[in-house]
């Protein structure tokens, strides 16, 4: 399924060979990369398409909030919906229990948007000459319902049982492991199913490792060993058609190792908790009541290219729309209250915030 390529440069590649045929859930990206969805459509947009195959994503947890679990759940559920094999490792005794909390794709959002279109078209008759541009975007967004690249997940509905069959999901617990060699072997055997050779990619794999340096694990004070595991995981993933996501709480590692881990990543995200009933924040940001946390994008994977991806904004608020759908929003600064004499300017955490304020249309 050849996807519409977004033109980022004025040069166009003269492709003599046909584009590689891709399985469901895979999308061609610039510079010969292939993307898989993160399970969160907003995050895919921010990262420029999704997670590229062969990259290592590291998520820095906040010990005070479980938001990294939301990211993991969506990632894992997306993989299962697209029939991509999954390896899940966690410090709990029974990792299978977590699979019960995976969300199900939200039903028929396409139908709603398709219905809205004819009405919208009537309303936009004045700007009719721009319809040709609208057409392009719509083609990208709406495809055959079953093989959508990226699904919206309903966090209140659990994933259907048939997705969780043993062939597709492998669970590993590393609580009682004295060292990381067992997990390393698991990862190696898992990744050997998806070797990378130039050609058709039938299937991609996903690895999700949760809280690798959890304190109850015996190896958790062996910092060099953990680092070398991450390095070998990165190299194994790079030479296969898979994406690995690893989460860890940075407060449990010494600062120098924390930095080393951050450098190891291809894509680096971090989640932060927000204080409850903080009047200052409520004044500063719109929509504070609905926010559950912040997501920071520190690094975006750029494979096969020297050009970095410079984002307009790096801090996003995590919200649960209708308590079901995970959405990421750019931080909007609340309109300044003239009477109180508050000053303008961007605060330290929200870089590049747009000043649309309360009047968002």
């Amino acid at each position: 399924m050849a996807a519409a390529k977004t033109r980022t440069t004025s040069f166009s590649r003269n492709i003599s060979t046909a584009a590689p045929s891709l399985g469901p859930g895979l999308k061609c990206g610039p510079n010969g990369t292939v993307f898989v969805s993160s399970g969160i459509p907003d995050l895919d947009k921010i990262l420029g398409g999704g997670f590229p195959l062969g990259s290592l994503v590291i998520v820095m947890e906040d010990p005070e909030a479980p938001h990294h679990m939301l990211l993991l759940r969506n990632f894992m559920a997306q993989g299962l919906v697209h029939n991509q094999p999954l390896l899940y490792a966690s410090p709990n005794r029974d990792p299978r229990g977590f699979l019960g909390t995976l969300p199900s794709p939200a039903a028929s959002k396409d139908d709603k948007s398709r219905q809205r279109d004819p009405d919208q078209e009537k309303g936009l008759r004045i700007a009719w000459q721009y319809k040709k541009y609208f057409g392009e975007n719509q083609l990208d967004g709406q495809r055959d319902g079953k093989h959508e690249y990226s699904n919206e997940f309903d966090l209140r509905k659990p994933l259907e049982r048939h997705f969780l069959s043993a062939q597709r999901v492998e669970c590993v617990s590393f609580q009682d492991c004295p060292n990381l060699s067992a997990i390393q072997d698991h990862c190696a055997t898992f990744l050997s199913q998806f070797p990378r050779n130039d050609g058709n990619i039938s299937c991609a794999g996903r690895i999700a490792i949760q809280s690798i340096c959890a304190p109850q694990c015996e190896y958790s004070n062996m910092e060099w060993d953990m680092l070398s595991f991450i390095r070998s995981l990165k190299s194994m993933v790079r030479s296969s058609n898979a994406v690995a996501i690893v989460t860890f709480p940075p407060s449990l590692l010494s600062p120098s190792f924390c930095k080393r881990w951050q450098h190891m990543s291809d894509t680096l995200l971090s989640v932060k908790a927000i204080p409850d009933e903080d009047k200052e924040l409520a004044q500063l940001l719109t929509g504070y009541q609905d926010m559950v946390g912040f997501l920071n994008v520190h690094k975006v994977a750029r494979i096969n290219t020297q050009v970095p991806l410079i984002l307009e904004a790096t801090t996003f608020s995590i919200k649960l729309q209708k308590r079901r759908f995970l959405i990421l929003e750019c931080l909007n600064q609340a309109p300044v209250d003239g009477s109180s004499g508050a000053s303008y300017g961007t605060s330290g955490s929200c870089s590049g915030s747009s000043k649309t304020g309360n009047l968002d249309f």
């Binding site: 015996e218 407060s251 204080p275 009933e277 500063l284 004499g341 961007t346 605060s347 955490s349």
Partner: protein, 377 residues
């Protein structure tokens, strides 16, 4: 606010969730951790005996105090622990944690003393503190003994994690605590810790493992500087009886609730009151910018003193245009209003003068001459 902590512990765990866990941490500057621990313990026990809590029993793992201390403490709060009414059990890791008495008896150089009968039924002596898995099993066994099997839950209070860390590695202690939290029959867990006895990593691990963190800090920070001995003494005295009590709650929706109170140590226990405003300095997230939008007092006065070259100064005097050749004070006659050219405003602090020099007196406005006629090209 300590009430909310006790309430959370009382309400316990939901189905399928980890049990709430509280870390009470203090330091030498404000060493009231054990007072807070006793307070929470007595509150939870009173809930337990009144039948209001989710848990049906309480296991106290005592490392730093003897079991009789706890029995006395509960008695003083009006809770009689009778051995027939099994709701509280104490795992005694204080009397003989490493099992030396047995070894000495074996070696023949020690004769066992008879245990106090009132204590022995409620307190079980534990002799293997080096083995966290054995400790875990004993706690679970004791708890099950109290509440039975099935869905009944019990709470666990651990006297001091510092002692545990003396004997066992961090990862085994962490594994014990997290296993306790995830056990089906545990309703809530709480423990106390002296943060300055350990590396930072230990404190952060315990905070990671708990869902509430209560920390004690001195009310007035002792400054390291040249202070008179008398002042220092009064500070120490102040800090000896009072402190700040901060709590961080990790809520289910992923937000963190912060609360602060003032704690005062009294004969009968601790007394918590809301924090007086002088202590609380709220470091908000309000942005700091490089330019100053507020004017100080002096600047406001100076601004009022500036004489502007506009037609009227707003103070009722007749219109005068200052053209740089006469002082403003002298001229009392009305001058014809001439169109001024560009005026440069110069706001000096202090006097607020505006210096303007007219180009030339001879120049008539709207002259027909082309000024460029002068040029010789």
């Amino acid at each position: 606010m300590a009430e909310s902590i006790c309430r959370v512990l009382r309400d316990g765990a939901l189905e399928g969730e980890h049990a709430p866990a509280l870390t009470i941490k203090d330091s030498i500057a404000s060493p009231f951790g054990f007072h807070v621990f006793s307070h929470v313990l007595s509150q939870l026990s009173s809930f337990l005996f009144a039948g209001k809590s989710q848990s049906r029993g309480l296991v106290i793992v005592s490392f730093s105090r003897s079991p009789s201390f706890y029995l006395e403490l509960l008695k003083s709060k009006g809770i009689e622990v009778v051995s027939s009414d099994k709701r509280i059990q104490i795992l005694d890791c204080y009397s003989d944690p490493l099992g030396w008495k047995d070894r000495l008896i074996e070696a023949g150089s020690f004769t066992a003393l008879s245990h106090e009968s009132s204590v022995s039924s409620t307190a079980i002596v534990f002799k293997n503190v080096k083995y966290m898995d054995k400790l875990y099993n004993s706690i679970i066994e004791l708890g099950r003994g109290l509440v039975g099997g099935g869905k009944n839950r019990f709470s666990v209070a651990i006297d001091s994690v510092d002692e545990m860390l003396r004997h066992a590695s961090m990862s085994s202690v962490a594994s014990l605590l997290s296993n306790l939290r995830s056990h089906d029959q545990v309703s809530s867990v709480f423990w106390s810790l002296h943060s300055d006895l350990h590396e930072d990593r230990v404190t952060s691990v315990l905070e990671y493992l708990s869902s509430m963190v209560a920390s004690l800090e001195p009310l007035h920070e002792p400054a390291n500087g040249q202070r008179g001995d008398l002042e220092k003494f009064s500070l120490i005295e102040h800090n000896a009886k009072k402190g700040k009590f901060h709590a961080r709650f990790k809520r289910r929706n992923g937000r963190v609730r912060l609360m602060s109170e003032e704690v005062r140590i009294e004969q009968s226990g601790i007394n918590l009151t809301s924090l007086s405003s002088e202590g609380a300095v709220n470091q908000g997230l309000a942005p700091k910018v490089q330019f100053n939008l507020q004017l100080s007092e002096k600047e406001l006065i100076d601004r009022a003193n500036v004489v502007l070259p506009f037609e009227h100064q707003g103070n009722g005097k007749p219109i005068q245009i200052y053209d740089g050749r006469r002082s403003l004070v002298d001229s009392k006659q009305e001058r014809p209003v001439a169109v001024t050219e560009k005026v440069q405003t110069n706001e000096d602090s202090g006097r607020g003068e505006i210096i303007y020099f007219r180009d030339s007196d001879d120049e008539m406005p709207d002259s027909d001459e082309d000024p460029d006629d002068d040029l010789d090209i």
